[in-house]
Symmetry: C2
Subunit: 315 residues, 2 copies
């Protein structure tokens, strides 16, 4: 631990709470720190640590070994509720993980503040007059990284499946957020080769074989490489939750393939995600995706929200 | 603390981990306890506590006051990562909440074990031959509580909005899981009066006015009673994420109305939830909901899954 850390850390002075997630036991705090002789804005991100394997192993020796103090707070029939205090001895696991960001500019402060979200009910008219022109105005450089994956210039060693057909081909890679080990949070992404497809509204009946190929390859890799249960032969069940984002964060069509057991990922929320099987069925039934009204959540500060507001929508 | 608690608690002997949620910092453990002179199965559910207001207030006095020990684990540019150990003094907040269930029968053990989920890709044929008959076979008593709410026999004091029309009427109540205070997790349910509607597949164009009335009343209550932003006059944006469950947990049509900011609720996942605005749009476009193939997740042990498997699906 350097001398700077010793002096810079305890100096944090709390101003206010920017965001709390009681389920994740995390809190983002805004305050001030001393930096080069001045008081500057600083962010302190705190999160309780998870139970470690060493902690769980220590339970073999009984609760009184693991906890320095236990307090019963209730009892009813077969149920007993207890609070526990672990030891503060340094050799045990830390209670809290913290990240200090100092100095913190306004972008960083906004990033770690509670985002206000609203639902956008996007009519075909809103799509044609605002969303589509906005997508087309984005610089091509935003998806350079996608082309690097498709060309084999990046993440070549990560590719799980590669279909080179320029129209119905795609590359399947593990999602960056996946640790590539935990089966219950298995998360892969299929990036299609056809660069004319920017988002779900571009899909027509012609793309059903592409979507089916992606689901089939994803199920095969999930089963053969990672050991997830195979889908049923008649297609009536699967271990993967496959979906498209609408609105996506980048405009080169891609499919998310996630373990059906991964139920805590906010990107899989309704109003953000559309199930591939539902999409295929609607295309088969003749639904024109340019004529659908589609709801999705946008966070304050999203540039599409600004474009919609400028056009008189989503005031 | 009774004498029984003192002796019954530390006796827990760990056998194995049934389920872990690293994001929620929770773990469900199976073990044994002494009960009436015998060793019996017991469950110990552990969860880290969230940061309390008192803890956050103590930060005003600096990190070194709140933590008995701090350890820097990394530093890069404006970022510093730190582990912290809080004091083990009894007057501070507990580190861990625990529930002990003893003795625990096999149903309880299954309930707290990691559920394996799979996606069911339900074709119209599967619905007509398995799901619909299964829904119709459920005893009417399963929705007695729903009728009690509709009749005003239960939760009368909770009703937020009451439309008595037998065909297009509904009752709007706070969801039981909502604390009725936290705006970011606002969660209401609208239960329709028309008992012939069991689930989303029963909806036709005729029900669009019902769905619109529910969304309108929900937005009004969310705004006037709870202070959420009002929807835009042209319907292009809203503060509520409104959805139907498919598969629902009970078969009397109901709509979930949730703050758009509530992004951690697993019931709002794609493959479980269908956005009401999307549903309205598809009905307007002439989609026959009995002819759609719809995907949804079912957990092992769900009775519908058993019915589907018995019919040769979802093997």
């Amino acid at each position: 631990m350097g001398a700077e850390a010793k002096t810079s850390l305890p100096c944090f002075e709390l101003e206010r709470i920017l965001y709390e997630d009681p389920r994740a036991k995390s809190v983002n705090l805004l305050g001030q720190c001393e930096h080069q002789g001045e008081r500057v804005p600083a962010l302190l991100l705190m999160e309780k640590t998870h139970f470690t394997p060493a902690f769980l192993a220590s339970l073999q020796q009984g609760l009184e070994h693991t906890f320095s103090h236990l307090e019963q707070i209730g009892q009813n029939d077969i149920y007993t509720w207890v609070f526990g205090w672990t030891s503060d001895q340094v050799h045990t696991d830390a209670h809290t993980k913290m990240s200090l960001i100092c100095p913190a500019n306004s972008d960083l402060i906004a990033k770690y503040s509670a985002p206000e979200r609203r639902m956008i009910i996007e009519t075909p008219h809103m799509y044609e007059t605002v969303t589509k022109p906005w997508i087309e105005s984005l610089p091509a450089s935003k998806v350079t990284w996608v082309h690097n994956i498709l060309n084999g210039e990046s993440e070549r060693e990560s590719v799980l499946y590669n279909d080179e057909d320029p129209k119905t081909g795609f590359v399947l890679v593990p999602d960056l957020k996946w640790d590539r080990r935990t089966l219950s949070s298995l998360y892969m992404v299929a990036i299609v080769r056809d660069g004319s497809l920017t988002n779900m509204r571009d899909l027509t009946k012609d793309h059903i074989p592409l979507l089916r190929k992606i689901q089939k390859a994803g199920a095969q890799i999930a089963h053969e490489k990672y050991g997830l249960p195979a889908p049923s032969a008649d297609g009536s069940s699967s271990s993967l939750r496959c979906f498209l984002h609408y609105m996506p964060t980048y405009f080169h069509l891609h499919v998310h393939l996630m373990s059906a057991n991964f139920t805590t990922h906010p990107g899989a929320l309704v109003g953000q995600a559309q199930l591939v099987d539902d999409v295929i069925s609607l295309l088969e039934l003749g639904v024109d995706f340019r004529q659908r009204t589609i709801g999705y959540a946008l966070a304050d500060g999203h540039k599409l929200l600004a474009a919609l507001q400028q056009a008189g929508f989503a005031t």
